[in-house]
């Protein structure tokens, strides 16, 4: 199905794009008027101009052509998710299992031709049992208005009259075949396979097998193939948000029906809008935990509807499910009221009364209005998961995180941000002290998407260590920690002293009180730690005249300096409340 050359005007004046190759300027593509005058791709431009002095030319832009072809292939996913661009001028679509949706192969080809012509593409379409046969038929048998559709089993006969170039051979090999008088594919059929391979190489025999469907040829699709897909086609292009909302409701309903049957919940969705002009717009979203609540999912999709440009209209909407997780059927509570809140009050504090929060507050319109149904997830069991989904749908799931303790002496590693959709760490790794095992344990403790998500269950305070009081307690830690630490210009007197004056963010500070040092050495037993330059840090808490308290550290040993070695550097690592 050769595509158009991007940017070629479709009028009647002869036109060609020109590419430089090996020092010459060759015709890369021609429009029908130029082709009628005898021009063909590959011809030197000088020859072409001698045929047709009035030829209009433009520089070929293979990248833009490739991008246009890619867009076209993406649009073709309306026929099947197994779609990919093929070479520089084709798109291959695996329609096994989806042709019946159009009533068979012939109606599908007709529909494809009609829609492509409307986009200004003159397609040559072929449908065959294998990729090789389809490639050959599309390029050498199909005409502009007549798709090549050999009956099942007739592929061998259909290929026989085609030139040997139809076998996807490189030009030198095709020329070699022609030299010995083999011009048609059918003339290769009676040749003994071994002789063919010996004379012309394995490639010819292999190409022939592929064309005849003797050898399998898989198609790797443009994008990851979705696990589930539901599709809605409109009789005529649609551009009204209200129609999109209804379509989203139907699509999610259909998808959820299948999810319920399979006991799964959706984690990653993609809603594709196939526009009339061949462009495809997407809404991609993830959920914090598997969900198959149609109102919730529809709400998430609807909330992002304003990012979609419908152009002149949308003719297809395809909701694809890329990731799903097991979601067992949930028992709904008998009591429709939320459980009472337990709010431990401070001793001596006045009791507080918390009114039952209204379920659906009627708020003044939001500047970025959500369509009706957008807030439909509130009843979903699972606490704040619907909230996280709404936040994640707009800001991206990466924007949501939680703080989790890690067993590390290094301050910035002791508290990490983990994705909010992930299980709380079941068991923080023990202090890594035993050689390589420590590093491995630390690696395997990286957050993973767990199959069962229990977000609202929070960790207790264990794991954060004791801070502040007690014999074994760590010294106080700042409330804001700068990662990476910010360099400061500091002045100090004695080697072990904290600075008496420092400049941070172009503002001078005079130290009035100081405490420390607290020495924190790198975790030398890890590969990361032993390679670090700031192997030893001496931390000081310093307080300025106003009473602000900072956490500074000196990287490097205090003794180094003018006597030898680089002078220690000072960093601001955090601010105390």
């Amino acid at each position: 199905m050769p595509g158009p050359s991007a940017g070629a005007p479709a009028d009647e004046r002869p036109f060609a794009t020109v590419a430089a190759a090996a020092g010459r300027r060759l015709v890369a593509a021609v429009n029908p008027a130029a082709a009628a005058a005898g021009l063909a791709p590959g011809m030197p431009l000088a020859d072409a101009l001698s045929f047709l002095p009035s030829l209009a030319t433009a520089a070929a832009d293979p990248e833009a052509d490739g991008a246009a072809l890619h867009r076209l292939a993406e649009w073709c996913t309306r026929y099947s998710p197994w779609t990919a661009p093929d070479g520089a001028d084709g798109v291959k679509i695996e329609i096994t299992g989806s042709a019946h949706l159009w009533g068979g192969e012939a109606p599908l080809a007709a529909d494809l031709a009609r829609r492509l012509q409307r986009q200004g593409v003159a397609p040559r379409i072929a449908i065959a049992g294998g990729l090789g046969a389809a490639w050959a038929l599309a390029r050498f048998a199909a005409g502009a208005g007549e798709p090549a559709l050999p009956a099942p089993g007739a592929g061998r006969d259909a290929l026989a009259p085609l030139p040997v170039e139809a076998l996807r051979l490189d030009p030198a090999m095709a020329a070699g075949l022609r030299r010995v008088g083999l011009r048609r594919v059918g003339e290769l059929y009676p040749m003994p396979r071994a002789a063919l391979a010996r004379r012309f190489g394995e490639a010819v025999a292999r190409r022939l097998d592929l064309a005849l469907g003797y050898a399998p040829e898989p198609l790797s699709p443009l994008a990851e193939a979705p696990a589930r897909r539901v599709r809605l086609s409109f009789a005529e292009p649609v551009a009204d948000p209200a129609d999109f909302l209804r379509a989203i409701e139907r699509l999610t309903h259909d998808l959820v029906e299948r999810l319920v049957r399979e006991g799964m919940g959706a984690r990653r969705l993609d809603l594709a809008f196939h526009r009339v002009d061949g462009k495809v717009e997407h809404i991609r979203l993830g959920t914090a935990r598997p969900s198959r609540d149609p109102r919730h999912l529809a709400g998430l999709l609807a909330a992002r509807l304003d990012t979609v440009d419908p152009g002149l209209g949308v003719e297809d909407m395809i909701l694809a499910l890329y990731a799903a997780e097991k979601l067992p059927a949930e028992q709904l509570p008998f009591d429709p009221l939320p459980p009472p809140k337990k709010n431990p009050l401070p001793p001596g504090g006045e009791g507080r009364v918390r009114g039952a929060a209204p379920a659906s507050p009627q708020l003044p319109p939001h500047p970025n209005p959500l369509p009706p149904g957008g807030r439909g997830g509130d009843h979903v069991a699972g606490g704040i998961a619907p909230l996280l989904d709404r936040l994640g749908a707009r800001l991206g799931l990466d924007a949501l995180s939680r703080l989790e303790p890690r067993a590390s002496h290094i301050p910035e590693r002791a508290s990490v941000n983990v994705p909010a959709g992930v299980n709380p760490h079941p068991n923080p790794p023990p202090l890594a002290g035993e050689g390589v095992h420590g590093a491995i344990a630390a690696l395997s403790s990286l957050p993973r998407i767990a199959p069962t998500l229990t977000f609202p269950r929070m960790r207790g305070r264990e794991g954060w260590g004791r801070v502040g009081v007690g014999v074994n307690a760590k010294p106080p830690r700042p409330i804001r920690l700068f990662v990476p630490p910010e360099p400061i210009a500091a002045a100090w007197l004695l080697p072990d002293d904290p600075p008496f004056h420092f400049i941070w963010r172009r503002r001078p500070y005079r130290v009035r009180r100081a405490a420390g040092p607290e020495r924190i050495a790198e975790e030398w037993w890890t590969a990361e730690g032993s390679a670090s330059v700031d192997a030893i840090r001496d931390y000081y808490r310093v307080e300025d005249a106003a009473g602000r308290c900072f956490w500074l550290f000196r990287a490097g040993l205090p003794g180094s300096g003018p006597s030898g070695g680089p002078p220690p550097r000072w960093f601001m690592h955090g601010v105390f409340a």
């Binding site: 989790e404 508290s415 009473g547």
Partner: protein
């Protein structure tokens, strides 16, 4: 006198209109502060603004410590904390009583997104509270948040962070729809006790820290809490010791400029002074 009763009834009605404490209050546990607040504590289901001072307007460190202490005493449900830079440090929050595991951090680059996120949070009744760190707060947005908080009962703390001095100056004076506006700043810490005797250095018997302009040892940090604006209450200022591991503040002692407070609120410190450290 019917006239008087109707007047007082009217006053009562106005008072009720002015202070929507429908969702209860969170008392500080310090009478001097609670008396200044309508209902005897920080109104829940409302918006509270917290400002920093000087360089801390950029980091909002004291403000976040103040909020962490309040959140620590506000149930055990999750807290939505919307910020631009994920620089909150778990152990530091824990020092003020807030379990970091309760936090759901939402990072967004723009004030609009933060406002949107906290407003979404205010619709989720399963949250204990929401915190938003924002720079620009238009009056209309603040009003929306206040209405949303009143409806759902979720309390919202807005930490004002400004990087730009011009923006800070413009925003500081802008009125807002918040029920209270606080300014929390650090005070020089109380001198520490139980310091080991320091070695003498130099001739005059001064220990070596003094010679350099700084003293060794940092005591319990203190804040000045200024209630700049409160709907239906009286503004005031208090010097307190910072929120401890249970999230409570306590009036600090030994300060000349502190407001009158009951004696039992403040733990008196005998012999507090820099000289007492050199007993040995």
């Amino acid at each position: 006198m019917p006239r008087v009763t109707s007047l007082s009834a009217l006053r009562e009605r106005i008072r009720r209109l002015e202070q929507p404490v429908r969702h209860g209050v969170l008392p500080f546990g310090v009478d001097a502060i609670d008396d200044a607040l309508p209902g005897g504590g920080l109104a829940l289901g409302a918006v509270h603004e917290i400002l920093g001072v000087g360089g801390d307007e950029e980091d909002a460190a004291t403000a976040s410590g103040f909020v962490a202490g309040l959140l620590a005493r506000l149930g055990a449900e999750p807290v939505l904390w919307c910020l631009k830079r994920a620089d909150l440090y778990g152990p530091g929050l824990l020092a003020h009583g807030l379990d970091p595991g309760r936090l759901v951090l939402v990072r967004a680059a723009r004030d609009d997104d933060i406002l949107w996120a906290v407003e979404e949070g205010l619709r989720a009744p399963d949250l204990a509270a929401a915190v938003g760190e924002i720079g620009r707060l238009p009056m209309v947005a603040g009003r929306r948040l206040q209405l949303a908080a009143e409806r759902s009962g979720v309390t919202l703390f807005l930490l004002r962070r400004w990087r730009n001095a011009a923006v800070a100056a413009a925003e500081r004076g802008r009125p807002s729809a918040a029920v209270t506006r606080w300014r929390v700043s650090a005070l020089p810490s109380a001198p520490p006790f139980q310091q080991p005797p320091l070695p003498r250095w130099g001739r005059g018997g001064e220990h070596y820290g003094d010679a350099r302009g700084w003293e060794l040892g940092i005591g319990r940090p203190r804040w000045r809490m200024e209630l700049l604006r409160v709907r239906g209450g009286a503004p005031g200022a208090w010097d307190v010791e910072v929120a401890d591991a249970t999230g409570h503040v306590s009036l600090s002692a030994g300060l000349a400029d502190r407001p009158a407070a009951p004696a039992e609120q403040a733990a008196p410190r005998a012999g507090a002074g820099p000289l007492s450290r050199r007993a040995g």
